[in-house]
């Protein structure tokens, strides 16, 4: 991190002080607001939700503004003992925005423990079923307003170029998109390898996902540059990019193994556009 040293900044700010007034309140516990908005900025994802104290250490004076959270699904890679409605509320209060990730059945031509059917009607229904499960997970995590407008991403890991397999995945993703469009609608997204998850196929769906999150570990933060995805697809604040994978970073004495990401697309619970962002 390239932070100016604390002492140096202290010299710049010799007159900083606090005067506080205190007001006594009784108020209900905070809940995580449903909804989302387009955001420009950096985020990270990690397999299991860190503790809230670790998240606090990673909020203060770091480049990260949002975190990818694996909320569930039959093939979520890691257990999530820390992920609760309280964790969502606390990290939201700390300032974090979130990307909610669902990891259900994977391509039929893969070795994952749970897979999509090759049968197109079954695959479509599986996609719808996963959308319902993801919605239920959001509600269980305390999202208000029935999680309306909340972006939620389906994690479709890379699976290659077999035509029959691609067709099944496409049917599945159509089910995902269609079910999330049912009121109270969420904003459908798909995460995957920019090339190996065949994200470009999804642009030709009858009703494509509203946004994509492409894994493209080229070190380039710009979401405009994605391998295997046309520049004209998902081009209106509809892209997240995982530009660096599998590495450790340390902030505030806390080391976490992360993937680095940039957003130029929807996050929960709200947006914040920045025309000068390196993520554009």
């Amino acid at each position: 991190m390239q932070s100016m040293s604390r002492k140096a900044m202290a010299r710049l700010l010799p007159s900083m002080f606090l005067c506080s007034s205190a007001v006594f309140l009784t108020q209900p516990a905070q809940a995580y607001p449903g909804g989302g908005g387009a955001f420009n900025g950096k985020g990270f994802d990690t397999c299991a939700a860190p503790s809230t104290s670790q998240m606090q250490a990673w909020w203060t004076n770091t480049p990260w503004s949002w975190v990818g959270v694996y909320i569930g699904g039959a093939v979520r890679g890691c257990s999530q003992p820390n992920l609760t409605a309280s964790w969502m509320n606390t990290t939201y209060s700390q300032g974090w925005r979130h990307t909610l990730i669902w990891v259900g059945p994977q391509a039929p031509c893969s070795t994952y423990a749970t897979r999509i059917s090759y049968d197109s009607a079954t695959a479509y229904q599986q996609g719808k079923d996963e959308a319902v499960k993801a919605y239920n997970a959001l509600i269980a995590l305390g999202f208000t307003n029935n999680a309306a407008g909340t972006p939620v991403v389906y994690d479709m890991e890379g699976y290659g170029s077999n035509a029959t397999c691609k067709a099944a995945v496409k049917q599945f993703m159509q089910g995902w998109v269609d079910q999330l469009a049912v009121a109270p609608a969420q904003v459908s997204g798909v995460y995957g390898s920019a090339c190996n998850s065949n994200l470009s196929d999804l642009a030709t769906m009858a009703r494509p996902p509203k946004f994509i999150w492409a894994a493209n570990w080229d070190g380039n933060t710009s979401t405009s540059t994605l391998s295997c995805v046309s520049g004209t697809s998902w081009s209106s604040h509809q892209r997240l990019k995982q530009y660096q994978g599998d590495h450790n970073e340390t902030y505030g004495g806390v080391t976490i193994n992360i993937d680095s990401n940039c957003a130029n697309g929807p996050l929960a619970p709200s947006g914040g556009l920045n025309s000068a962002s390196v993520c554009n």
Binding site: R6, S20, S21, A22, T90, S93
Partner: protein, 289 residues
């Protein structure tokens, strides 16, 4: 109510105690043996292009023990010879990463195999549903109910790390911050602020417990704003007198704050952070004009 008296610390930061769930075992902690731990199958999933299988190792003994690297794992497929799981090319250091486990703590070993290959277009699979762990202190543990498919390549260890449990973190926070660690916080701040100007915002501390939380040992707080690699930090004393020296049971107290936003910060998205010593932290994205 407003209060004129402000308790100001010098504008250099106070190093707050790092909250860490990682208990540091004393030197000479013995290697974990099978009798010390409970080993269970966790999630079988998908991550970073690999088909994954968690193995969770919990210290159920009364003393700390250690693992000098990930333990030897042997897959036991039904119709083939046992296969030993190796280190991954991406994380060879895990083979010699020493982890110490206090009683009750847990370690996760994440195995991965390639999730796709040409052979996966056919229905045949090479799944192991059982594996065996050799503990460095002696003894074996057999784990049933795993799903490790080696059709597309050998299994490797992708992660080997201590579980950063929220419960442990809260216990540590309670030790450091006392009852203040049980407070929750929220922030009300404008969406935008001027560089070189004064940002006024409100922090509300809430006490969700049935007992008042005393502020008699008045904590400090640190506030900062960060943008594009530069930040400003100040640590000050909370105006506890204004709060009557406590946060009432099931009640909240709001504190008005102000922060001089350095003119030197870059325009665009900035991160506002406020952290109470031993207590909650709150923050917000602020557009810096």
């Amino acid at each position: 109510m407003s209060f004129r008296s402000c308790f100001t610390l010098s504008a250099v930061s106070i190093a707050l105690l790092a909250l860490s769930g990682a208990a540091q075992a004393a030197p000479g902690v013995r290697a974990c043996a099978a009798a010390d731990v409970k080993v269970t199958a966790g999630q079988a999933g998908a991550w970073r292009g690999q088909a994954t299988q968690e193995i969770r190792i919990a210290n159920t003994g009364l003393e700390a023990c250690h693992l000098p690297g990930f333990p030897t794992v042997q897959l036991q497929p039904t119709n083939e010879a046992p296969q030993t799981v190796g280190a991954s090319e991406q994380a060879p250091e895990l083979q010699s990463t020493r982890l110490e486990l206090a009683p009750g703590e847990e370690i996760v070993v994440l195995l991965g195999t390639p999730g796709t290959c040409e052979a996966a277009n056919r229905p045949e699979r090479k799944v192991s549903k059982r594996l065996q762990l050799a503990l460095p202190g002696g003894g074996l543990k057999t784990v049933d109910g795993v799903h490790v498919d080696t059709l597309c390549g050998r299994a490797t260890v992708m992660r080997f790390e201590r579980v950063q449990s929220e419960a442990n973190a809260r216990a540590v926070a309670m030790k450091v911050g006392g009852a203040v660690s049980q407070l929750t916080g929220s922030i009300s701040a404008p969406d935008e602020a001027s560089r070189g100007g004064l940002l006024r915002y409100t922090v509300t501390l809430s006490n969700p417990t049935a007992s008042p939380v005393s502020l008699s040992a008045c904590p400090s707080y640190t506030q900062s704003v960060w943008a594009d690699g530069k930040s400003s930090d100040t640590t000050l004393r909370l105006n506890c007198a204004a709060a009557g020296g406590q946060i009432p049971a099931n009640g909240s107290v709001s504190f008005d704050m102000q922060l001089a936003v350095p003119a030197e910060l870059a325009a665009g998205n900035g991160k506002l952070s406020w952290k109470l010593e031993g207590g909650p932290g709150v923050g917000k994205m602020i557009g810096l004009r």
